[in-house]
Amino acid sequence: MIAPIDHRVTRIARGAFTGAAAGAKFPLLMAHDHPDHDHDHAHDHGQHPPSDMELRVKALETLLVEKGLVDPAALDAIVDHFEHKVGPRNGARVVARAWSDPDYRDRLLTDATSAIAELGYVGAQGAHMVAVENTPSVHNMVVCTLCSCYPWPVLGLPPVWYKSAPYRSRAVIDPRGVLGEFGVSLPEDVEIRVWDSTSEIRYLVIPERPAGTEALGEEALAALVTRDGMIGTARL
């Protein structure tokens, strides 16, 4: 099953492939060498990519489809998965359950992979989960200094700032300064534990349950839990 090919786009994009970066290891995709390139150096902010990226990506997809290597409907389903099936609402349900059910909290702290799977959240980038719990005296925050490791099944794909150089570089050396940029000021006597996700272990922060929520059920509690609270760059 091959998707209809937009020949106009394909032709332009093919030109972009051949025109770029003569002499590079692969003659491709060197965005900075393309004549139509209008990269405004938004860099990791992701809001203003080069105008030709769409064409280059379309050209690669067309080639892979023509060779029978990918099914465009499968790509649609993958995009749908990340846009709609995973995200911080999943993690919020895990946290709300841990707040509501002491036995579940214990299981989550002992074997997070299994405890999270109980709620149906399993899969890529969640094979080995560890949950770390904030308390009045301990604050946890998660980073991946080497790339962008993040627990997809419970939090979805990471925000741009999490993948960006400023956060990756400073979270380990200056966690209090970084937290300050997020508007979080911790007393000196609170211990900060930074978790650098260097392996396939993925970390989920269990934020402190806000005061005055004793009467709330799990669903209402889950609504209080934010993505940044589960990364550790926010308190609830």
């Binding site: 394909t10 994009a13 093919r14 492939f17 491709l28 965005a31 900075h32 990269h39 150096h41 860099h43 990791d44 990519p49 990226m53 769409e54 990506v57 690669l60 067309t62 080639l63 023509e66 060779k67 029978g68 290597l69 409907a73 499968a74 790509l75 389903a77 993958i78 995009v79 990340f82 099936k85 995200g87 399993v122 899969g123 890529a124 094979a127 080995h128 560890v130 200094t145 080497l146 790339c147 962008s148 925000p159 741009v160 700032w161 960006s164 150089a165 400023p166 956060y167 979270a171 380990v172 050396i173 209090r176 940029e181 000196e188 006597d189 211990e191 534990r193 650098d196 260097t198 392996s199």
Partner: protein
């Protein structure tokens, strides 16, 4: 490798810029890049994909957006893995007479594939060298290939807090030299051990480190 990707502890890389109500993908092409990365055979070796991004020369790495890096490494991995030829990538057309494949992933297979439990833990016959409570030091090594031992932990004294069993070893797997599973530990490093007296005496950094990265202290 001592590349710019290994940025833990650097200064001067700018302010953290957050975006309220950020979308999953900022442009449809970003979603296609993510999806193609997941759907093509290159994904079978996640370490090699990571290393391919590390190999982007530093000045370009720092100037590219996240999915520009993914796109470039995807294209390069497709050629290295023999899925595409360099000339196919250059021309955008299948080589004449090239065989037509069958996609490894169809739409109906996507949810099962993305929600399969999976594991990077492997059975090994060797006992772990360390146990929780052991004092260890990050080895002063500078591999030129892929490694998950950040520079800021090398030569630093820490304490094993957890053993995770043996996991696929990126330093081998990233280079298509096999999984070579090694014992994996979470090691706690006091912030003052890493960053000196200016750091809080209470704070610490926990890093997942494979046994070959560590020596007994």
């Amino acid at each position: 490798m001592n590349g710019v990707h290994d940025m833990g502890g650097m200064h001067g890389l700018g302010p953290i810029v957050t975006e309220p109500d950020e979308p999953t993908f900022h442009h449809p092409w970003e979603g296609r890049v993510h999806a193609m990365t997941v759907a093509t055979p290159t994904r079978s070796n996640i370490d090699a994909g990571r290393h391919q991004r590390e190999l982007i020369p530093g000045p370009e790495y720092l100037a590219m957006t996240y999915y520009e890096k993914w796109f470039r490494s995807l294209c390069e991995r497709l050629v290295i893995a023999g899925v595409l030829t360099a000339s196919e990538l250059a021309s955008g057309r299948p080589a004449e007479g090239s065989a037509k494949s069958e996609p490894r992933l169809r739409a109906e297979g996507v949810e099962p594939a993305l929600t399969a439990p999976g594991t990077y833990e492997r059975e090994v016959s060797v006992a772990p060298a360390f146990r929780p409570g052991d004092k260890v030091r990050g080895r002063n090594i500078h591999p030129v290939g892929d490694t998950r031992l950040p520079r800021y932990a090398r030569g630093r004294l820490g304490e094993v807090v957890r053993w995770h069993g043996a996991h696929v070893f990126p330093d081998s797997n990233a280079h298509d030299k096999g999984e070579d599973p090694r014992h994996l530990y979470t090691v706690r490093f006091a912030a003052r051990e890493l960053w000196g007296e200016a750091a809080s005496p209470r704070d610490s950094v926990y890093i997942d480190l494979w046994e070959p990265y560590l020596e007994r202290a």
